[in-house]
């Protein structure tokens, strides 16, 4: 009963070794994992998804539902199809979903317990009691369901490649090659894509074609390949699978660069091809389907054409005396192949009536004395982890035969996945009993069996006719066949069961363990729409997408519903055609290549001075500076905050967005974009301003510098700059094209330093001895331009800390030099660098808001008590009208307040709720009245207690009142007093003197 090795020219003679489940086996270079295992007589390769039933190799291609393995030697890659993955010397493979071993799997108890795993079991079984889902069911399901384990220690080097072409031909079988031949040496740029490492498809997988144009199939393939290779306009991609057919003829294909080779970790193992084409020719053939019968999942049951493919393509005869079970004419080719090798099938079971069976088949069976059952079917098969006996039903009589393999053919489906992904419409063809392409939605042509044409003789005419839209010569194909040209099939989806037991299941989806009984149950429960039924039963929802079985399930369902299949319709085929590795999709966009890093001109200084960085958009900003190795973040921020208010501190503010607004109508434009009124503002002064959405909610803020009525510079938040510029552009282009205004992002054109603290003026005078920094000469919210060394600088008096402060703008080229100069001058004044965290703490002490912290897209300037910023006398600005809408002018909206703890040792945490209860009930029955939330919470080193900013309903009228703030992990709440949000210098004396 052992597999025999047959001569096969596609397999090299080179013997290699592979390891499967810890044992070493011999294989040949060119084998797939499946052909290598079959060569070694291994039939049991995995356990099923739900019931942990033993499973074997069912097919010989991409459609495989069972033989999924884990490749240990490739980063532990799981769920690999053994039927397409090629082996190499030393490849290490394990089976999946079994514990402790493949032969003795404890999970197989699920098979006996199967009534609880029937259709919809996820929805019904794990309902209660409360808490069981999280603590028991979910961990249990996660351990026992599913297939392989995720990869580990894996860093992808995959690459992406783009193509623009006139024609893509998918599949280099007989039709694809013949189509490619038409394009040889033409003006069309053509890409021929083949999933396998060889061209030829059906010609190599079977015995069906005898000669083409008087050449053997192999000679014809070689001749055609050479012509294509010599033609400059056609490129061939082998080992490449088209997984996705998007709109506008956009295809995605995955190339395995290491098919049959050990991965080189220094090279890209996968290439994702992104192809834009004018025309797509789909010629990727057909997929054989199975038939449901009792135990149709036992290892040893295999699709007939797959069995034949192992012989021709890999030189492995999985079994010398299999039973063949078919409902169509195509199995003659397998029969003839076996006979030619001196093998004799145990029996040939054909569901067709004797008169309808081809004379040639009947003649061979008679001549070779092979048991022949016409108008018969397989009732089921039995055996321990493998097929042992096969029961045949013919009329009322049953025959039991002993064989270890059963080859099944239930007919063929045109491979319509890509065609339907392209949104093409399909229709039911009664002659082939399957759906075939009908109306294309894009420029898509299907050829050969993909188009539902199962006649080799008609192929030549089909190609010449369908490709006549291209200006190419006709091709000629004179094909001689080993099989009948006319395809004949009898409808058969499921055979009748004799006995009944839990073990005896008739499967409709092998991958997801769905039985025909599940389909019936789902319909009984009311899931009679095919899309509902699919989701309820998980039928055809596995990674194989039910390639060998989904049409069968439609047929079975249509019978149960007493409808035509065409009335039931198909479910939607979605990309990808086969699982696509995330590594391939990510390409090189991983780790440091995932997103650009933007660094300021001072970055090297920050590194040298022990800055800890924070990501703000793509920017790296110092978060805080460590004064010593052991200083914690809290200690650093407290130190920086205290030092700044005592002496002075400097912040690298270069990341702040800066937009230049210039043009005749710049003033009018600014008046429309921002809430503030800019008309009466004097040149060379600046103003804190806000930008709203049309709904009246705050979008961004910043300081606006007015150079003249025709020239403004706006600063924005660090992460908001691109959006603000885009919004300004949008209004200019779409609403106010009559305004003559030009916008320019100048963020990167300046290094910006914010220096503030009581000693700032002295430091500035030392750095810039020629400039008069007196309050009269240089008042708050003014700016001036100066020559500095060989460049120009702009200094603005502004502050975000509440202390006396200046902002210095200098071209980045000179930034670091000036920064260091400031430090050498500031040394005697104890100048410190500070980071964004200290900036946030200091501004919270001063009651300044931060966009995205106090605001969340539902906050108006009125909610913040910033009415003074609103240019009420302006006729219009973005969002103005919305501020008087009933909802935006409500008195009980959430408004900005300060929080001060009554017990000064309590800590107010950011994000906590503000409530009226001093203690939360142990068991919460009724909703607790919620008043608002803490938007910012810090320990203030300058006040020596915790402070908070909060958004509270009707907060403006609650000053002085006592409420409670919830605390992490506690039921006892913190008592707080509602206070003015400005904790430091409410009179602004420090700012303005």
């Amino acid at each position: 009963m052992s597999a025999i090795n047959n001569k096969c020219e596609y397999i090299s003679k080179k013997q290699i070794k592979i390891i499967f489940d810890g044992k070493t086996y011999e294989a040949y270079e060119g084998d797939t994992i499946a052909s290598a295992l079959l060569r070694n007589n291994i039939r049991l390769v995995g356990r099923s998804f739900k019931y942990h039933r033993p499973r074997g190799i069912y097919t010989c291609g991409i459609e495989e539902p069972n033989a999924l393995v884990q490749i240990i030697s490739e980063h532990n890659e799981p769920n690999t199809r053994a039927t397409i993955k090629r082996v190499y010397d030393g490849m290490e493979i394990t089976s999946q979903n079994r514990w402790p071993s493949l032969r003795y799997d404890l999970g197989a108890i699920n098979n006996i317990l199967s009534p609880i795993f029937s259709a919809g079991f996820y929805y019904k079984t794990f309902m209660g009691p409360k808490g069981f889902w999280k603590n028991l069911y979910e961990p249990l399901i996660r351990r026992s369901a599913g297939l392989g384990k995720p990869p580990k220690n894996f860093r992808s080097k995959s690459t992406h490649q783009y193509h623009n072409t006139d024609v893509v031909i998918i599949g280099a079988g007989l039709s694809g090659l013949a189509a490619a031949k038409k394009f040889i040496n033409t003006k069309y740029k053509v890409l021929l894509i083949e999933q396998d490492s060889y061209l030829g498809g059906v010609l190599k997988n079977s015995n069906k074609v005898k000669t083409i144009n008087d050449l053997t199939p192999q000679e014809w393939i070689n001749e055609t390949e050479e012509l294509i290779l010599n033609s400059k306009n056609i490129n061939i991609l082998k080992n490449t699978l088209v997984t996705t057919y998007n709109f506008t003829n956009h295809l995605i294909a995955l190339e395995d660069k290491f098919a049959g080779k050990k991965i080189d970790l220094n090279k890209s193992e996968l290439t994702l091809h992104k192809i834009r084409t004018s025309n797509t020719i789909i010629a990727n053939g057909h997929i054989e389907r199975f038939i449901s019968f009792r135990n149709n999942d036992l290892p040893g049951v295999m699709l007939a054409s797959s069995f034949e493919k192992y012989i021709h393509r890999y030189g492995v005869v999985p079994e010398k005396e299999p039973v063949i079970f078919t409902n169509n004419s195509s199995s003659l080719s397998l029969l003839k192949t076996l006979i030619s090798l001196g093998c004799k099938p145990k029996a040939y079971v054909d569901s067709r009536k004797k008169d309808n069976i081809e004379t040639e088949i009947k003649k061979i069976l008679k001549d070779k004395e092979i048991q022949f059952f016409s108008d018969a079917e397989i009732e089921g098969c039995d055996g321990n982890k493998k097929v042992e006996t096969i029961t045949i039903r013919q009329g009322k009589s049953f025959t039991k035969l002993k064989s270890s393999m059963l080859c099944v053919s239930g007919g063929y489906n045109p491979d319509i996945h890509l065609f339907t992904q392209s949104k093409g419409l399909v229709k039911w063809d009664k002659n082939i009993l399957s759906f075939k392409p009908d109306t294309p939605f894009q420029k898509t042509i299907t050829l050969g069996s993909t188009s539902g044409n199962y006649s080799f003789k008609k192929l030549c005419d089909e190609i010449n006719e369908k490709l006549s839209i291209f200006k190419t010569k006709k091709v000629s194909l004179d094909i001689n066949l080993n099989v009948p040209n006319k395809f004949s099939i009898k409808e058969l989806w499921e055979t009748k069961k004799k006995s009944n037991s839990n073990w005896s299941k008739s499967f409709i989806d092998l991958h997801n363990d769905v039985t025909t009984k599940d389909l019936k149950q789902a319909i009984t429960e009311g899931f009679d729409r095919i899309e509902h039924l699919k989701r309820y039963t998980t039928n055809s929802m596995g990674t194989d997408q039910g390639k060998i079985s989904s049409i069968n399930s439609l047929a079975i369902v249509s019978k149960m519903l007493k409808k035509e299949i065409s009335e039931v319709g198909t479910t939607t085929y979605r990309p990808p055609y086969a699982p696509l590795s995330f590594a391939a999709i990510a390409g090189r966009s991983t780790y440091e290549f995932y997103d650009p890093e933007r660094k300021t001109s001072i970055h090297s200084w920050h590194l040298k001075n022990n800055a800890v960085f924070e990501d703000v958009g793509q920017w790296k900003r110092p978060w805080y500076f460590k004064a010593s190795e052991n200083e914690t973040m809290h200690q650093a921020v407290q130190r920086e905050s205290k030092m700044l208010r005592e002496n002075a501190g400097i912040l690298d503010g270069s990341t702040l967005g800066k937009i230049e607004i210039k043009g005749r109508d710049a003033l009018e434009f600014m008046n429309l974009m921002y809430t503030n009124a800019f008309s009466k503002m004097k040149p060379m002064t600046s103003r804190y301003a806000m930008m709203l959405g049309e709904d009246g909610m705050i979008k961004d803020d910043g300081i606006i510098c007015k150079i003249s009525d025709q020239h403004f510079i706006a600063t924005t938040t660090s992460s908001g700059a691109p959006k603000v510029l885009a919004d300004m552009e949008e209004y200019l282009q779409t609403e106010w094209p009559h305004l003559q205004v030009y916008l320019n992002s100048i963020t990167e054109q300046f290094s910006t330093f914010n220096i503030s603290g009581p000693k700032t003026r002295e430091i500035m005078m030392k750095v810039f001895p020629d400039i008069d920094f007196s309050n009269d000469a240089f008042p708050f919210m003014t700016f001036k331009n100066f020559d500095y060394k060989e460049t120009k600088i702009r200094i603005m008096r502004a502050s975000f800390t509440g202390e006396l402060g200046y902002e210095i703008y200098i071209p980045p080229k000179f930034g670091l030099e000036l920064w260091e100069e400031i430090f050498s001058c500031g040394k005697e004044f104890n100048l410190i660098p500070y980071g964004t965290e200290t900036m946030h703490l200091l501004r919270a002490e001063k009651g300044y808001i931060v966009i995205g912290q106090e605001t969340d897209g539902t906050v108006t300037p009125i909610d913040l008590n910033y009415n003074w910023m609103i240019g009420k006398n302006k006729k219009d600005f973005i969002g103005k009208r919305s501020l008087s809408r009933p909802d935006t002018s409500r008195e009980d909206r959430k408004q900005l307040v300060g929080l001060s703890p009554i017990n000064k040792k309590d800590i107010i945490e950011e994000g906590q709720h503000i409530v009226e209860l001093n203690e939360l009930p142990k068991k919460i029955i009724n909703p607790i009245k919620y008043l608002g939330h803490v938007s910012s919470g810090y320990h203030s080193p300058n006040l020596n207690h915790s402070i908070g900013l909060a958004m509270i309903r009707g907060g403006k009228n609650l000053l002085g009142q006592k409420f409670f703030v919830t605390a992490t992990g506690k039921t006892k709440n913190i008592p707080v007093e509602i206070v003015n949000p400005v904790f430091i210098d409410p009179e602004n004396k420090r700012l303005t003197s």
């Binding site: 339907t420 229709k427 009908d438 198909t570 049309e694 282009q733 006729k875 009208r881 919305s882």
Partner: protein, 116 residues
């Protein structure tokens, strides 16, 4: 991933563009004169038809220009692109364009086979 023809740069990949919602919604000249309801409709209400839709696009990773497009939302076909200052094409221009591939079947999913 569809292709979009920027009226300024030509045909480019969708990833270079950003969608700006319904086109031809003009910002009222005098917002203060509008009732709360009318202003609310301008700010919050947009059409979302299945079929022919006039919408705005911006070539955000290209020339940064805004333009209008007529798209069939059920097939994702862009039937026409035109500049912001150009006249809105007539709905009748698109009467004979391909209908939705799903064709609103009675049962099943997106398959025409159901209807035939």
């Amino acid at each position: 991933m569809i292709l979009i023809k920027c009226p300024y740069c030509g045909q480019r990949d969708q990833s270079e563009f950003a969608n700006g919602g319904e086109a031809h919604v003009i910002r009222p000249k005098n917002p203060e004169s509008l009732s709360d309801k009318d202003w609310g409709e301008y700010v919050f209400y947009r059409n979302n038809p299945k079929g022919i839709f006039y919408e705005r696009w911006v070539h955000s990773h290209g020339c940064k220009k805004w333009f209008n497009a007529v798209r069939n939302t059920s097939t994702d076909q862009i039937l026409k692109v035109y500049k912001v200052n150009e006249k809105r094409p007539d709905l009748s221009d698109f009467e004979n364009t391909l209908k939705s591939p799903s064709g609103e079947p009675l049962v099943g999913s997106g398959n025409f086979a159901v209807k035939k």
